[in-house]
Symmetry: C2
Subunit: 160 residues, 2 copies
Amino acid sequence: MQLRTICNKTICTCVSSGYILDMSETKTTMEDALREAGVRMTRQRRVLVQVLADANDHPDANELHRRAHSIDPKISLATVYRTLSVLEEAGVIDRHAFEGKPARFETTDRPHHDHLIDIETGDVIEFRSEKIERLQAEIAAELGYDIIHHRLELYARKQG
Amino acid sequence: MQLRTICNKTICTCVSSGYILDMSETKTTMEDALREAGVRMTRQRRVLVQVLADANDHPDANELHRRAHSIDPKISLATVYRTLSVLEEAGVIDRHAFEGKPARFETTDRPHHDHLIDIETGDVIEFRSEKIERLQAEIAAELGYDIIHHRLELYARKQG
DNA sequence: GTTATTGCAAATTATTTGCATATAA
DNA sequence: TTATATGCAAATAATTTGCAATAAC
């Protein structure tokens, strides 16, 4: 299992594949995908895409606004929220609503994964289990359903 | 796999154990547990415990208030919220925050289970998979964590 | 009798929306 | 040029809280 620690906020790990990609290309890829989807590229959207591509944690709307604002003060929180919905719609970001807390976002450039949340610190660790993925699909099928998406979160405390 | 359908709002199933218990005793059990925990039993709390014990779906605070109110109009929404926190704290109910929607509650009298949410209708189906439970614990352990609680939700659409 | 709980209304938090103006295509 | 996006401020939705009145133990 590969493990990557980034600041004291977020840890990214890829349990099975363990591959890490070049983030510098993420922004371009996202913009391409957005044009593809017919999304009008405004200055504000470009900034937000930038901020999201650069983020290696799971920031919420407020934090994204803070970061975007420091690059270009001409960007409002309302636009951040509206843009996040557009980007989510276009499939370039994922929205996670962890317990009670405001929604947090991340780009979809890495393969699907689930999250372990450190309940003491709020840190987020990403992981992926093929077995669990498979079992989920089996269960849904048994119940006569197709999974559209799912959410697996482990709220945990460091051992020892 | 056992399956129990209740109104067009919620379906309860127990994948592995499939046991169904006598709900008429749930209220007494809850009140006992609460006294045990040193929780002062007010008229409002008794009503809410009643409503929760009778519920076989996953009502939100508003709906619980509606039901409680119809038994005893002298109960406010604020008290419902406050009581729900007390009951959760005491471990007699679980709080679930499904995507975006307000939190929904259920008694903890049945064994732990996860949820499949029908994204068309909002229906909730309960299921349990020992294998997934085990895998989760293994993953957390591998990352050096102990799971305090977790959340697995399958957002799905009926087949065909 | 003392301390915790209630109801009410006001506050808070996260997010959304209406509308006049600005901007991408 | 024409539809779409933006900023601002006000609206909404879910939940929480302060405080004086009330009820549990």
